[in-house]
Subunit: 526 residues, 2 copies
């Protein structure tokens, strides 16, 4: 990236970024600095960019062939690799999981085999959902299932959970979903205390079929079912890779497949999210969610950065991270339903782009993925916004908002609805962070020039949620393509696994070297 | 801070910080680099410090009179002020809320009046709890209350919620607590759908008695009670400042007081946390929680940084933030019960120390409070740990762990319990981040030298939870004292409030200038 012509140009422009605090700095920008897709507006008027910067960012995208890389990814090119070194060496085809609507525009790429695989699983899922609905599948007493316990971790937990919470307002009447992820036994204990096991399905998810936490929790949950006199085969379904150790039809009521070309953190639109979401919010709502994601994938193949929202988000992120040197990104949804969306994006972004070598195995000489964090507003306003407004540490922010609430159970207090109050706060924060405020009292000075964007839609529906998810997934992929890093492996999680196994060996009394671990355990009295 | 002698010494030492990746770098450090209080171990062997650095940090604490400032705070000195400028101008006495055990050592300071106020409220609460328990207070049908809905935001929500979740394993049988905080109407709608209103108490919390979100939610909840034919006066209690607009005995079943010298983010041990926690986990457990916090307050008056755990945590934080230039701090509890603890600390720390002027109103020339974020392990290992291990962005980490689970419903799988697996992962991460790993494959290189600490206790009991909370509260106060900033006001939240009110005025059709807001609303179609 750094040796591209456009990057030098960007460095020149970054010496004097747009000053959002000057008089009338924002006037006229809201109408023009907006990109829209599917009725979702991305407003970047409060970023420290002007048209010259956006033009230079377009050049950067062109020089790095960002859109072409994305299209080739969708077409099945092996993008998960490091030239000359051992790596996962795989295609990257989470986009195929939603390429199931027979809507391929001419000239767009698609991986036929992956799409066929996705369609097969969706068809199996449809049958399963219908059978639960019409009572062809029931518990031993012939009662319909009304709860589901999802057992998974990481990509098999965070994303599905975030989306379920986001769309809980659309839950099928009388149905409920629980989540167990942490190997902490208290996590499972708390859920098992609440759930009605007799009327519960359990959905166990592990691509490898060997994830330690998930297998441990599956065993723990199964022992509870058995203790209650229930046959696990009547209750347990699995989502796993074909031929994994978990792919055992004798053990599960039903098995759904995930594929090695779908990374865990990108798997929400695969069976990983599909089984639970179809149960919880209904199959049709799940398909709406998928359709939203698909529409964004198509939009992501647009060359013009002013029309390709994911790409624009990616480039503005690069401007903030590399040119203005801001280390973090706060994602601030003004929607309680999105309470875990930031946590999912934290995973998706940081596991993808928290890298230090490029796709040729050389150390990069620039910053890569930001630290992503955030909580819903207005709650955050009563918490960490103090630092965002008045500290010298600048935190770029993504605001997310909706014109209408989901439940539509609102109340006018003093002439405005709660939703209006929520929106008023959202817009106020966006403007205030940008413009700042002067004062005679140094404690009341707001320096301003805190860059922020707004993602805005009419309502948080399944389709809009699918779109939001894909906007960020694709943004992350674009940043990786432009940085020339591999966003799709996760070697950084391996060392911990190796060391943890050594310590488990110590606990089981095996003869292990591991001086550090032994001294550590001793000092903790273990 | 920067002009102190010890700071120059620290700068010299920081030019060549301890290298955790060298051969045998950790050997012998675990036993010696540990500070303990109340059976809680703080292990800092994996920080980039050696004895010289700790000695220099001790000098910094001495030069800035950190401990004396803390003691004077507890004694009632007005610490919430900016010399020469309008400010809240108040005492800071959240510590008095737990100074109720008549255990004052000779020579230690205490604010008699604040302590008396705290004792009065606790005595009122005890009576209230007994009456709920013995049926002297019931609903109109004479049934005992079994649920409580907490309505608050910011400090009146995050901290109490985090502690309730942490101690839910100790919940009174059959009792349940719900939380409504966000002005997002869907937040309240989701809770009201779940709660059994007839058997629910509602605890409304607002110090000023005028918090917009809380009043709006109170009205919304009240309208649901009325619609169900319930008299709110039989169900609603409040926690507010004396003589606030909410202090209206005619309206509430019971009123509890909070004091202007207890900041929202430091109010968990005041009635803000007390009423809900006493209901949810029982009065005695709440008092255990308070006792844990009190013991840490006493420990915080120890001069020796190797014995004063909060102070040591503060100083190591300053070393990482100011000397090694790390912008964030990840708090990583290996305990699902602490799922919201990082969010609470994010609030407490960032609202306290996200400041840019000192207590004389001058701009500071060094970094202040870090960005605090985090999620429980092992979940995080499957998410953002990639970046922590392999990106060039260094993230100091605080790990938190326990020898025993809370529910003690564990299961051996392959020779180890879940709790042992959890601990194995915890220790593995701490060591791996510090030492790193070399490899021929650049993708498998772990640079190491990622500084981290461990807080470790036998079990997460009410007393330990009180201690953990106070350790961080006091750490934050110490950092503010050493940086010479006012950690106790929050002017940075004001601008957003002013602008939000302008936009609410636009919604209600008032004649408002606010060009930016109008253009913004227009572009969003509002």
């Amino acid at each position: 990236m750094k040796n591209s012509k456009s990057y030098s140009l960007l460095e020149e422009l970054a010496a004097n970024p747009y000053d959002l605090t000057q008089a009338k700095a924002l006037e006229g920008r809201f109408a023009s600095m907006k990109a829209s897709v599917m009725g979702i507006d991305y407003v970047y008027a409060c970023q420290r960019v002007n048209d010259d910067v956006v033009d230079a960012l377009q050049k950067l995208a062109d020089e790095t062939a960002a859109v072409s890389q994305f299209s080739r990814m969708m077409g099945g090119e092996k993008m998960n690799k490091i030239d000359g070194f051992e790596c996962e060496d795989r295609q990257v085809l989470h986009t195929a999981m939603r390429d199931v609507f027979d809507d391929l525009p001419e000239g767009f790429l698609s991986d036929t085999e992956a799409v066929a695989g996705a369609k097969t699983e969706i068809a199996k899922l449809k049958v399963f959902c219908d059978e639960i609905e019409n009572g062809a599948i029931t518990n031993a007493k012939g009662e319909k299932f009304k709860e589901m316990i999802l057992v998974g971790i990481g990509g098999s937990d965070l994303g599905p959970r975030a989306v379920y919470l986001a769309l809980k307002a659309f839950a099928v009447e009388g149905r409920k979903v629980h989540f167990i992820s942490n190997v902490d036994p208290d996590d499972a204990a708390a859920v098992l205390k609440d759930a009605d096991l007799e009327r519960s399905l359990v959905c166990v998810i592990s691509k490898s079929g060997s994830t330690l936490e998930t297998l441990t929790n599956e065993t723990l949950v199964a022992s509870n079912f058995e203790a209650a006199g229930l046959n696990t085969k009547d209750h347990f379904v699995c989502v796993t890779g074909k031929d994994s150790p978990m792919d055992n039809p004798a053990k599960y009521l039903r098995s759904f497949y995930m594929f090695d070309y779908v990374g865990g953190r990108y798997s929400v639109t695969s069976m990983v999210g599909a089984v639970m979401l179809s149960f919880g919010i209904g199959f049709d709502n799940f398909m709406g969610f998928l359709r939203g994601a698909r529409k964004i994938d198509l939009n992501s193949q647009e060359r013009d950065v002013r029309k390709n929202v994911s790409l624009l988000m990616a480039l503005i992120g690069i401007w903030n991270r590399n040119l203005l040197d801001h280390e973090t990104l706060a994602v601030l949804p003004y929607s309680q339903a999105l309470s875990r969306f930031a946590a999912h994006l934290q995973q998706c972004d940081m596991e993808s782009n928290g890298k230090r070598i490029n796709r040729q195995g050389e150390a990069v000489d620039f910053a890569t993925g930001p630290i992503v964090w955030g909580e819903p507003g207005t709650n955050g306003q009563h918490a960490f916004y103090q630092l965002i407004h008045q500290s010298e540490t600048v935190v770029p922010c993504d605001f997310i908002g909706f014109a209408k609430s989901q439940y539509q159970k609102d109340l006018d207090v003093k002439g405005t609805s709660s939703q209006q109050k929520l929106l008023a706060n959202l817009i106020a924060q966006s403007i205030g962070l940008a413009t700042g405020k002067t004062s005679e009292n140094p404690n009341q000075v707001f320096p301003g020039n805190r860059p922020n964007s707004m993602l805005f839609a009419e309502q948080l529906t399944p389709e809009v949620m699918g779109a939001l998810l894909a906007l960020y997934e694709n943004k992350i992929a674009f940043q990786g393509f432009i940085w020339n890093i591999n966003s799709f492996d996760q070697e950084g999680v391996q060392l911990g696994k190796v060391l943890a196994n050594e310590i488990i060996d110590i606990f089981t009394g095996k003869d292990v070297e591991a001086i550090n671990a032994k001294e550590y355990l001793k000092t903790l009295g273990l």
